[in-house]
């Protein structure tokens, strides 16, 4: 996922336009936006609206097949959900898991970006190619590879570390850690590439000025580079939060659907189990709505704290 920065987008600060072109602008805007609007309204907005509607009903497979009548429940699905202790447990686990993944990807990605700026072209190219490979691997393929690497009987990690038959997916934290490692592995590349581009784009004069002022490498990094890259970091973080909060495939594949006694469930997998495996689409829809609201709150909170921090 490639975040994009625009430190100062010239298009946003255009001079006041003349009257004629402005009306033409609105019309052209509508025309240009029409395909997007049609597609998104039909295929995203409407289903989301239906999702909310479904969450207010007792809606299962018999109802969907037209074999049973619809029963309006009001907020009952939400009450059931919020009263379920497992939901809160899974929510907590999801927040912590996502936080670890986000922080991990940002740290690894940024550190490697800095490393890449200091290296010669060929090693840098090798690093980028390897990273792109990690990023290109489909989530399902990557999950199975990591599962095999850490397999308790046939995995090479156990052989190298001398652990016979040790299961990495049995313990709760161990399983979460393994999945987090895979997620960081396939997420850090875009952080790395973006931060690298960001660092490279800093005008050399700025860095020279800092060096002339006698700043050490670390001080340059924290006091000069970081503030300039802050908008970039912010967008990278938001996108990472959105994506890592919704992780599904890796957890599902690597913990065999949620781990021993469901101890490795995250919200998206939990919703899938309830909605699809359990065929309780109404409850599943409620979970989906709650997830979206949660993400919105978390992202909003993050943006506000960043704004306040300057």
């Amino acid at each position: 996922m490639l975040p994009q920065i625009t430190p100062a987008a010239p298009g946003d600060r255009t001079r006041p336009a003349r009257q004629g072109p402005q009306r033409g602008q609105a019309r052209a805007a509508v025309l240009y936006l029409l395909p997007t609007a049609v597609i998104l309204l039909a295929l995203l907005a409407y289903p989301i609206y239906q999702l909310v509607v479904i969450s207010f009903y007792d809606y299962g497979q018999p109802q969907a097949a037209g074999a049973a009548p619809l029963v309006f429940l009001g907020f009952d699905n939400y009450v059931t959900l919020l009263g379920d202790p497992q939901f809160w447990d899974v929510l907590g686990a999801t927040v912590v898991f996502a936080a670890v993944c986000v922080v991990g990807s940002l740290l690894v990605g940024t550190a490697l970006a800095v490393l890449a700026t200091r290296a010669s072209p060929l090693p840098r190219m090798l690093l980028f190619l390897a990273a792109l490979g990690a990023w290109a691997t489909p989530a399902m393929a990557g999950s199975y590879v990591w599962l095999f690497l850490f397999d308790q009987d046939f995995g090479i990690v156990n052989e190298v570390l001398g652990l016979e038959g040790h299961s990495w997916t049995f313990e709760r934290f161990s399983a979460f850690g393994l999945v987090a490692a895979e997620v960081v592995w396939c997420s850090f590349p875009f952080v790395m590439v973006t931060m690298y581009a960001g660092i490279k784009a800093i005008a050399p004069e700025v860095l020279e000025a800092a060096a002339l002022d006698g700043a050490t490498a670390t001080r340059t990094a924290t006091a000069v580079i970081l503030p300039i890259l802050r908008p970039l970091l912010m967008i990278a973080t938001i996108q990472s939060i959105i994506w890592d909060f919704k992780v599904f495939t890796q957890i599902y594949v690597m913990t065999n659907g949620g781990g021993v006694a469901g101890q490795n469930l995250v919200l998206n997998v939990f919703a899938y189990q309830k909605a699809f495996a359990g065929e309780q689409y109404g409850l599943g829809a409620a979970i989906g709505v709650v997830m979206t609201v949660l993400l919105l709150s978390i992202t909003g909170l993050y943006v506000r704290t960043q704004r306040r921090a300057g």
Partner: protein, 277 residues
């Protein structure tokens, strides 16, 4: 940090990062006996295409592969055009509600798409009554759905690139007598090519990897199955046929890798250029 140390570190880390991929391909080429050995080795002296043969022997494998490719290519092509137009509208035109739209696009990315399968199922079914090509059991439905899911992010991405093109360029063009339409397609489009590449890469991944919607929309008939569905029969770790699983994973990864490597130069250079804005 000295360059030499950085060089060595880069190479070492590159090897570590690439190792899982190496292991994937290696295991796909190992004979069954070596895969299930008590002491697996990071090499094999007896590479065999047996695992690949078993996976490729899946009936209609070539067809599934082609179907996945067709869907992904269609999504990329359409998403490029549509998201470019939208990004231009949102960046270079001034109108009310622009910020609201931008925020809505961000929010649209927050919805867990797995939750939308049932509403979309019935919606696509209704589409099929009117336009059969985009109804259930047709690849067109997958194209539409993935287009919709990759648009918000693509538009967000392109916004920055489009905005980075100076307004003066457009004014100069209009002074020269070029219509807005010409400017948009003949000047702006090529200028934001790197951004388009990045956006297209993500749309491709999204469509190529999809398993859930293919599973939900393609119910009867085997002609339109996509690759992940075809490989499902192998992805059963309980059978512990790791050779076949790794072969399947390799086959799924190779096209994406090829795509990435082909465009990686534009990817990095494009980001560098855009940031200079």
């Amino acid at each position: 940090m000295k360059t030499r140390v950085a060089d060595v570190a880069c190479v070492v880390i590159a090897l570590v990062v690439a190792f899982p991929l190496y292991w994937m391909v290696l295991s796909a080429l190992k004979p069954a006996g070596e895969i299930r050995a008590a002491d697996p080795r990071p090499w094999t002296l007896a590479p065999t295409l047996d695992s690949f043969r078993r996976v490729l022997a899946v009936e209609d494998f070539g067809l599934y592969f082609l179907n996945s490719l067709v869907v992904a290519a269609a999504v990329v092509a359409l998403s490029l055009v549509v998201s470019f137009l939208a990004a231009v509208a949102l960046t270079r035109f001034r109108f009310r509600g622009r910020t609201v739209l931008l925020v809505m696009l961000l929010v649209a990315q927050m919805v867990p798409v797995e939750a939308l399968t049932i509403p979309l199922f019935f919606l696509v079914r209704s589409f099929g009554d009117v336009v059969p090509a985009i109804g259930l059991n047709e690849l067109g439905s997958l194209v539409l759905v993935h287009l919709a899911f990759s648009l918000p992010f693509a538009i967000w991405m392109l916004r920055g690139f489009v905005a980075a093109v100076p307004a003066e360029l457009e004014e100069a063009a209009s002074i020269d007598g070029a219509s807005r339409f010409r400017f948009t397609w003949q000047v702006l489009f090529p200028l934001v090519a790197p951004g388009l590449v990045a956006a297209s890469v993500l749309s491709f991944i999204h469509a190529w990897n999809d398993f859930l919607f293919a599973k939900t929309f393609l119910i009867s008939g085997t002609d339109n199955r996509t690759l992940p569905l075809g490989l499902l029969v192998f992805f059963k770790p309980e059978e512990q046929d790791w050779g076949a699983i790794m072969a399947g994973a390799t086959l799924m990864t190779v096209p994406v890798l090829v795509f990435f490597v082909a465009v990686q130069r534009h990817l990095v250079s494009g980001l560098g250029g855009a940031v200079k804005g």
